[in-house]
Symmetry: D2
């Protein structure tokens, strides 16, 4: 039996949700909700019996709606999600989960107390590439993690309400949260930005995150680049992985190459001096990855979490960790790039492996 779902918001991302829920055998798309009925109608298309709703209240009253997918502007996410929880509906919400960590926390708590599913639509985490990266790290193929460098730059519209960190970094942060063994829990965050056009918000941004064990993660997000680059390098003590998302025939390359210690891994850090370090040049391996649409997997996972009464892979908590870093980044930006500890820092135990 398929579950009834409605998509709320028929703007930029809504049509993608509509297309995927429509073609999923797990779901029955019953309605699209938007204040602008014509826009919703256009997304549904002709010769369709899917309903248009312009009232959220009416939508949430429907018995054939078990869940909603929210694709409205970020500042409206939390109010819509709260209303949905009150009506007993499960919720899939676009990134970012909310516009602040505190409000995001309320959403997580509310979903938990009502035993409803709250899922963050971290679409990238459901691509075959990110799934493969998670496996490779979990299996120890890369060894100990040393550094992560991510670049996500393109010509992008200057957003009216958020800076480039809040617009683009959620993608990278949610990916890191998905692939790191214990989720993304940096010791601190430092952010540097530039607003060379005088738009009132950073259009070029750099985010540095020291990780436990001496590793480092760094993001470059940029709305002003005329060339699109989406690349992540994850360096490990055994192998290093390069993900180039714009190279569809070879998205993932694993280099059996790196720096090593003359006396092997037995040498403790105190004995590791420069003289003992050399490097080896090994082969590269590019695994074959299936072609599948990530959003179709998001739809399946959402349905499975509801049916199995469990947390989805990208649950509210992961959305919350992303918000945590974004808030720390904003604070660092205001204080000239100083290192700022996220809320989660004091809770974190253990190290990367």
């Amino acid at each position: 039996m398929s579950l009834g779902i409605a998509v709320v918001g028929a703007g930029y991302w809504g049509p993608n949700l509509v297309r995927n829920f429509r073609s999923s055998s797990d779901w029955d798309l019953v309605a699209v909700c938007d204040l602008d009925a014509a826009r919703a109608r256009k997304v549904i298309g002709p010769r369709s019996t899917v309903d248009v709703e312009t009232s959220l209240e009416r939508l949430l009253d429907r018995d054939d709606v078990a869940a909603i997918a929210i694709a409205t502007p970020a500042r409206t996410h939390s109010a819509i999600a709260m209303a949905a929880f009150e009506a007993g509906k499960h919720v899939l919400v676009e990134k970012p989960l909310a516009d602040s960590y505190a409000i995001g926390q309320q959403l997580v708590d509310e979903a938990r107390s009502r035993n409803l599913v709250l899922m963050a639509d971290h679409t990238y985490c459901y691509t075959p590439t990110v799934v493969k990266i998670s496996e490779l790290i979990a299996e120890g193929v890369l060894g100990e993690l040393l550094f992560i460098d991510s670049v996500r730059i393109n010509l992008g519209l200057v957003q009216p309400d958020v800076d480039v960190f809040w617009d683009l970094a959620p993608h990278d942060l949610s990916i890191l949260d998905a692939v790191l063994p214990f989720g993304l829990r940096p010791e601190a965050v430092a952010a540097h930005g530039a607003d060379p056009l005088g738009t009132g918000r950073a259009c070029v941004g750099y985010l540095t995150m020291p990780l436990y064990g001496g590793a480092i993660a760094h993001l470059h997000v940029n709305w002003l680049s005329p060339t699109k680059i989406r690349q992540m390098v994850i360096g490990g003590s055994r192998r290093t992985l390069v993900w180039d998302d714009l190279h569809p025939q070879q998205r993932l390359a694993i280099y059996d190459r790196g720096v090593e210690f003359a006396a092997g891994d037995q040498v403790g850090p105190s004995e590791r001096n420069a003289a003992a370090v050399s490097y080896r040049l090994g082969d590269m391996h590019a695994p074959s990855l299936p072609e599948s649409e990530a959003l179709a997997s998001v739809a399946s996972e959402f349905a499975a979490a509801i049916r199995e009464n469990r947390s989805p892979r990208t649950d509210g908590e992961s959305g919350l960790r992303v918000l945590d870093i974004l808030e720390a980044a904003s604070q660092s930006l205001r204080s000239g790039g100083a290192l700022v500890a996220p809320n989660s820092a004091d809770l974190t135990v253990g190290s990367l492996s």
Copy 2:
């Protein structure tokens, strides 16, 4: 009439200097000097009448030596250069000029007071690519500079005496110094590094430099990357330039593409809000660049500066500006990434254009 020159240091870079001075019609390579005579002999090769010298003193005593090129370890640069100046010889010195700003300043002063040429071997600045970039910026093709992002990563040996900033960043810093209209004079420098292998020095480094007028420059230098990337993006208000040094058939691409203001450039910064910003997608243009060896141009410029009794394009001052940033970066690194003003900051006037 060609000028007599000797190369001091027959290690990694020396052979390149030997080859280029040997084949230059401006120069007569008379000797190679190294403590290890066999190594010097090997660089010279068989059936040659170029001399091997193992004593710097004897070398500097020779009348047929008008100038020396120093390719020894960095910490020895200043002593050798000082001795050369005392012997009345002109000096070309590998990067970095010296191991501190203060000592570098002494070299610059000494050369000036003796009216001798001190040239920094900023080889990259003599490539057809960097020469072209300088011209494009000087001619206003890019417009107002908005951001500069440079990546120089590769598998590199952990150096026994310097971190990755001092090893790799001099290349990017000297390039920026050459292409920026008033040289590289950032407001401040912030550095973040990581030493995930516990070698005692940063192996991964990020350098952020707010520039005057709201622009930003950022460098990523890394010894631990299994793939080599050498890329620089220079974003301007009119056009943006991408230099990919590992793409010899298309090293330089100029995108007539960018973000623009609805009401044109007449709108003052105070009126620049997000709503007024859109972007345009224009064509890309890749200029044809001559193939020429940069080091041959270094040799010519060194000879020309001596003959014309003038400063070379990359003079001691430019080497000093690079040292200045490196020292500020080291200080920032020690203080957790705080912004540190370089010595030159208080001297700087004007803005990028």
Copy 3:
């Protein structure tokens, strides 16, 4: 008022036609026809009032169907198209138009005599890239055409009924027909193929076509290549164009580069000896191309041709020229690669310019 259309064939290509006719404001998709009702139903999707038809006869009887789009196996194209013409319907047909030149000619004649539109779905010809290439050639930007080299290789299923020429070459041939000033009218065709797996048909194919004026066109089609290459080089006396369809950020590159004669273009062919030939290295220019789905343009053009009672851009005649070359290629293949003149050869006048 939108025109009623039905898609015949719900296999590989049908769903793409369905999607595009569905979202076109020119068309009203009223039915999908397939012998397998479940397959047709699946293409339409849930909550839709588009009809499923399993009988072609019933479909062609419907008054709300003005036109049909045929996406069935190639050998059935002509019978379905003929039936449609008899029922007074306009026809869009997948490549190849028919399985022989003679039958294709009948289709063209039948459509003309009934004043109905017959359009070949040469989808590639409606991509922004091919449209741009046509313009560049028509405007003389490339100068006199010298050579065309096209490569279309990938891992492809060995087809049960056709060889690699009939499967893949129609794409390239239809493109050449669209961009060459007088259509694709080679003097002769030579084909070489290989069947190294012993499947009973060529899996690797090379097609050589001497063009008028000494130019040459050559195609490489291949089902056995593990890497996908889709590249066309069009060399001209003024400029040369390289189209790399798998490089979405720079599909088209125009090189202002080439071979030239010492004494300029005034030198006649008889004086053109090797000594007088040199080459110049000029810049490259990559025009910005809009992103648009070609099949949406196919749908628009089909509607416009019907409404304006005119030939579509890729009419039956162009489909026929493609069949002509394919038949000549098959004949050349059977005779060991001998040059074979196509039917159109004796009709051709003039030269490339």
Copy 4:
């Protein structure tokens, strides 16, 4: 003890030979011979005791010359080599070995009868890439060979004496000769060319060679292409190899991917029908290759062959097989692309494996 060598010809390729023989410990470069003494002097450079010779006769009279390397225009190769053999010198000769098969055969015979080494400077065959490809094929990594497709195109000067086949194809032919298990022994050769500029010789060329066992090899050579492509695909029944010589960070890629038969390799050719063929998508593997200069290996191999009194890896016979194909190609070109059997065809036994 090093062997004395002289380089004959100080034009385009001579300086490369000079540089490599000079730095080889196997050799002592004693002289450079050219009719133009200034040109020879320039290649040797200043402060050198290597001799300039302008008379071949005087050169061949010298006792300190054990061998010569010939880098003169192709039409002079055979006369110089013959004179050298008469003087008892070993010979390394640039491609092509001679300007006809018959004369090449005389050189091979003369060397054999005098027990002197005749080596063809098939430089590419000594690159780490070609050495690796040979090993992979010999070890059966690719399985049965199915097709070979090679592209070597660039902007090239129209040669005064030879067409594009004789200028560029020797590279590919010598590579194929080196990597194929029994050398390059096609059943026949078909050549198509174009001279769209009216220079009197083909500037664009295609060479098709049916190989034993149903496989095919095809070359594209072109002087008129504004972009440089040097790529070879070698398709096998188990794996397929792609060599992209202009991608230094990943020259060689081995795809564990291909077409396969439903019932496995046990199915005989007669049962191989299309229905039974499917394809599998596997991983890609890029072996790490050492960086080494091929010409240095040529120099070593030449010395080793002399010392060990054996045939070098690229002996006169391999040069002869290249000439054989070139002559057949010229003949095919004259007869409109007809298949022409090379001299070696009747001698060939066996099949590719």
